[in-house]
Symmetry: C2
Subunit: 138 residues, 2 copies
């Protein structure tokens, strides 16, 4: 993840985005997170790592990184926005309504059907959101 963060820094610089101490720290926090933290949580983790970043900068950085395609924003029902690294292959989310656990899944057939539906109506998909709010069977 150190490496991944370093790669991203170079990509950002190439794109003309300055790599400040704060941004470098956040890149490392994000690269090292396997879950789906919100801005406050990322701020906490950055501080815990001794970063010295303001919450305002966390928000601004998240927007910047999203624009650069480095991270993706998740907005589950009525919670603060969460974020995840964008370096994985596309997937959707399943949320356990009892525990709040977030799981990931993919299904090519659903993807294709979505594209077909849009095409039939004369549109193309820019992006989509598929969330399953679920409960353990019992």
């Amino acid at each position: 993840m150190e490496n991944r963060a370093t790669q991203l820094e170079q990509a950002l610089r190439r794109a003309g985005v300055r790599v400040t101490r704060q941004r470098a720290a956040l890149l490392r926090v994000i690269a090292g997170s396997e879950d789906h933290p919100d801005a406050a949580e990322l701020h906490r983790r950055a501080e815990a790592a001794g970063a010295g970043v303001s919450l305002a900068t966390v928000y601004r950085t998240l927007t910047t990184l999203q624009t650069q395609g480095v991270i993706e924003k998740l907005e589950f029902q009525g919670e603060p926005a969460r974020w995840e690294a964008a370096d994985q292959r596309h997937h959707d989310h399943m949320i356990d309504v009892d525990t709040g656990a977030v799981m990931e899944f993919t299904n090519d057939r659903i993807e294709r059907l979505q594209a077909e539906i849009a095409a039939e109506m004369g549109y193309e998909i820019v992006h989509h959101r598929l969330e399953l709010y679920v409960r353990r069977r019992g």
Copy 2:
């Protein structure tokens, strides 16, 4: 829609929910709306109809009506929540990212696939959210 609103009033009373002047007015606004208005817009429409309802009551009423299963809450990306009557059959939404237009669609195959995916992982679906953010082809 007058009739629909009246039906709903009776259902509410049966459920032990009081039908106040404000709630009756909102029921009529909702029954007469074919789009997906947010709380502020519903408030405006109610006021335009001479209702005399506070915005706080609009919010409280929306929550109540949702609990009663009369309306459904839609939370599209980063906008205030929107609402729609729940008297229709289930459908998902397609949002034109350029115009903001919201269209509805259904696809049984997608519905079935979702249930299968959840089942495979040992869950059952409580509810789901499928939104296609699209752009006109050209």
